[in-house]
């Protein structure tokens, strides 16, 4: 008796599974192919710059072509030159690796993390010539993605003097460019004010080449 029940249950499950398989194939066609492909078409027509990764050229202009691009306005690059603003520390691969986006995942009491933060703080303070107490938190912590394209206005502010000196510009000129590339809170209340590092650095390069041709 028990075996007949199990056998008939299995037969029922098989019958329902076959209906389930046909359902799944239909869903795969509609939600797995038609939907994403239609969205791709809409994105490519209506918002081509965003849909292709917010790419920018060396002169700061927007592009949808990867071969013309020096990067994405949304993805951090590991700037180290003293004539450039520097991004936040990155835990993505060996740093800013888009094939390995990640945070450090180190806990709030982790002694290695505390030591790393102290080292970074000392290094930033020395490089920018400021007191360690004036180094903001985003300058010494790795972001969640490791690709955070922005820094806080406070971190940008302590980098101004170094960048201005390296480029032979006045602090005021650099501050004006920083202000131009600072975004406030979205809709006035969402998120935090922030400075896009790649766009700012490209604007600095453009200002330099503009000065050279004058």
């Amino acid at each position: 008796m028990a075996t007949t029940t199990v056998a008939s249950d299995l037969a029922t499950l098989t019958r329902h599974s076959m209906a389930g398989l046909r359902m799944l194939l239909a869903f795969t066609l509609v939600t797995g192919l038609a939907y994403p492909l239609a969205m791709t078409a809409v994105g490519q027509v209506a918002f081509p710059w965003q849909a292709n990764g917010s790419l920018v050229q060396a002169d700061g202009a927007r592009t949808t072509s990867r071969s013309d691009a020096v990067g994405s306005a949304l993805i951090a690059q590991g700037f180290t030159g003293e004539e450039y603003f520097h991004p936040r520390p990155s835990a993505a691969g060996d740093g800013y690796d888009t094939l390995a986006s990640a945070g450090s995942n180190l806990g709030p009491l982790n002694p290695d993390l505390v030591a790393t933060i102290e080292e970074r703080k000392a290094a930033v303070a020395e490089e920018e010539g400021v007191d360690p107490a004036d180094v903001p938190a985003d300058a010494v912590t790795a972001s969640g993605s490791g690709l955070d394209p922005q820094i806080s206005p406070e971190y940008a502010a302590i980098q101004v003097a170094r960048v201005a000196k390296a480029r032979g510009l006045s602090d005021a000129d650099v501050e004006a460019l920083v202000a131009e590339h600072t975004a406030g809170r979205d809709l006035g209340v969402l998120g935090e004010p922030r400075v896009n590092v790649l766009e700012l650095n490209l604007a600095l390069d453009a200002a330099d080449s503009g000065a050279a041709t004058e």
């Binding site: 499950l13 019958r15 329902h16 599974s17 209906a19 389930g20 359902m23 799944l24 194939l25 509609v30 939600t31 797995g32 192919l33 939907y35 994403p36 791709t40 809409v42 994105g43 918002f47 965003q50 849909a51 292709n52 990764g53 990867r66 994405s72 949304l74 690059q77 590991g78 180290t80 450039y84 936040r88 888009t98 986006s101 990640a102 945070g103 450090s104 180190l106 806990g107 709030p108 009491l109 982790n110 993390l113 933060i117 102290e118 903001p136 938190a137 010494v140 912590t141 972001s143 969640g144 490791g146 955070d148 922005q150 820094i151 809170r185 809709l187 209340v189 998120g191 935090e192 390069d205």
Partner: protein
């Protein structure tokens, strides 16, 4: 500003609450099929009008989920031979098993990095399809339970699974996803089919430009409370969540259906006040967790946040502390598990809050469907306890809660905690479990507890420090996800069947009113007491000891 941001979110959710709730109620009660649905049913050869008993409903659900696991497993294993694979190889057997179960159960636990392991076709035609249908399965179960309360004296008939599944996708999830995807693309989320190719940066380094149909997946990832990101950093990744505006859109999407379903419930049982009461419990618990998480992250206790000056480790500049805490509370209170910041690096009390959210059983407001049925089970526990106090047979919505109903409810309440505690206990005593733990001491225990809480509750977020890409974790977590999903579903459908076959009894003066603040408080207290009694010992050894040190 933190408060203003939350008010924007609340206002948006409040604005759509009544219309969407009514629309979903119509979706699941209308006898009419859309023309496209009639074609659909004919093509897949199912009868959408046959009222199913709960056993048949469960068989259809299990049959569908079984082929979903197998289909996805096959796709992941054979990835190398599929188009748009970007040159990635197939998943190994343990990894494919884990991922197939993970996405079918609406968990979306991910042991792999999307950008380094999964091609575009697997993402959109494998993983994202399960994002749609696993959410629709949860929705169907919730609706079936609501029908159990609403119907009277049937022979355990609770609807038709195929019709509920189809309508959930075609009428609710897909249209909302289309709108959400377009908003996200406009906000900067990428949507293309390009491979990942190298480009040269300003300073001459090599960095890969990423491609993928991300916005379409991101929309349903949040809307379906799935959480499985196409990229490893999930919603912290600038291509998944580029601005504070997209951040609030994503939080809105993941809370949208869970917070709206109480309205649908109220309409379907013919008393909107019952929906308000359930919403009240969900919103109350959620408000507390948002407040605590925001406070913890803004205060920034702990050695590392103190050294840095703020708890910015693992957080993105554009979201900041408040935008990260809000997302974290929302993603763990629903069963989403997407992250816009790394929970492992949260302050000890902040990490404790998000862990506690999951341990509550994902009811504040919980996943799509799963949150509502979880909360209704707690409401039954609450009327039962109230009934014991006054010594009369408890009733909820005109249904007597007898021995058999309570047996099902008790088993439901015990299943997930048992999976979490047994899983955690095994992992911290056997060698293959111990080698995955990154940090020693209480934080290590928190990592393991978080992992099994996330799996068994079908959340999918992680304290990333735990290395789970090993056969031990892949297999045991797969089992926890599977049991944590389908055992509760079977119990809920059995309960729905019993309730649907009962005749409704009219309320009398002795009936406990279940739409008043007293009852809201009682259900909230039941949720807290159940989780408190179950988890205080292990929480004491993990996050609590960490917060105190």
């Amino acid at each position: 500003m933190a408060v203003a941001q939350i008010l924007v979110l609340v206002a948006a959710l409040a604005a759509v609450h009544a219309p969407l709730g009514a629309y979903m109620a119509r979706t699941f009660t209308s006898p009419k099929h859309l023309r496209v649905e009639r074609l659909w049913y004919r093509a897949v050869r199912v009868d959408p009008d046959a009222e199913q008993r709960w056993t048949t409903y469960l068989m259809s659900l299990l049959g569908f989920s079984l082929v979903s696991v197998l289909f996805l497993y096959g796709m992941l294993r054979l990835q190398a031979y599929l188009p748009l694979s970007l040159g990635f190889t197939g998943f190994d057997p343990a990894g494919a098993w884990n991922t197939a179960v993970s996405f079918t159960t609406n968990t979306n636990w991910q042991w792999y990095s999307g950008e380094a392991a999964a091609g575009h076709l697997v993402q959109m035609a494998g993983l994202a399809v399960q994002n749609f249908v696993s959410a629709a399965v949860g929705l169907a179960v919730a609706i079936a339970l609501v029908r159990g309360f609403a119907r009277s004296g049937t022979d355990a008939r609770i609807g038709n699974f195929w019709s509920d599944l189809t309508r959930g996708v075609i009428r609710i999830l897909l249209p909302l996803s289309v709108v959400a995807a377009i908003v996200l693309i406009a906000g900067g989320v990428i949507q293309n089919l390009d491979p990942h190719t190298a480009l040269t940066t300003v300073e001459g380094a090599t960095q890969h430009a990423l491609g993928g149909p991300i916005a379409s997946q991101e929309a349903i990832k949040e809307l379906g409370t799935n959480g499985g990101g196409p990229f490893n950093a999930n919603s912290a990744h600038p291509f998944e969540n580029p601005t504070p505006f997209t951040n609030i859109v994503e939080i809105f999407l993941l809370l949208l259906i869970p917070f709206t379903l109480p309205r649908t419930f109220g309409i379907m049982v013919g008393d909107k006040r019952q929906g308000w009461a359930i919403l009240g419990v969900m919103a109350g618990l959620f408000a507390v967790s948002v407040a605590l998480a925001t406070w913890a992250e803004l205060a920034g206790p702990g050695a590392a946040p103190q050294a840095a000056g703020a708890a910015m480790e693992g957080k993105e500049t554009r979201f900041g502390l408040a935008g990260s805490a809000l997302f974290a509370a929302a993603t763990t209170a629903t069963s989403t598990g997407a992250v816009n910041s790394m929970h492992d690096s949260f302050t000890a009390p902040g990490g404790g809050v998000v862990l506690f959210n999951m341990l509550l059983g994902e009811v504040s407001p919980g996943g799509v469907g799963a949150g509502l049925y979880g909360m209704l089970v707690l409401a039954v526990v609450a009327v039962f306890i109230a009934g014991l106090m006054v010594g009369r047979t408890p009733e909820y919505l005109g249904k007597k809660i007898g021995r058999q109903e309570m047996t099902l409810v008790a088993l439901y309440v015990l299943t997930v905690p048992a999976l979490i505690l047994v899983g955690t206990s095994i992992a911290v005593v056997v060698e293959p479990g111990l080698v995955g733990i990154q940090e020693s001491g209480p934080h290590g225990l928190s990592e393991v507890l978080y992992a099994y809480a996330s799996a068994a509750n079908n959340n999918g977020s992680a304290f990333g420090g735990l290395t789970t890409g090993t056969p031990f974790y892949e297999v045991t977590q797969g089992l926890a996800m599977l049991a944590g999903r389908f055992i509760p579903i079977a119990l809920v459908l059995a309960l729905a069947g019993r309730l649907a076959s009962q005749k409704s009894v009219p309320a009398t003066v002795g009936t406990l009113p279940t739409h008043q603040p007293l009852f809201v408080g009682l259900v909230g207290a039941v949720a807290l007491v159940v989780v408190g009694l179950t988890f205080i010992p292990v929480l004491s050894l993990g996050p609590i000891v960490e917060s105190l040190s």
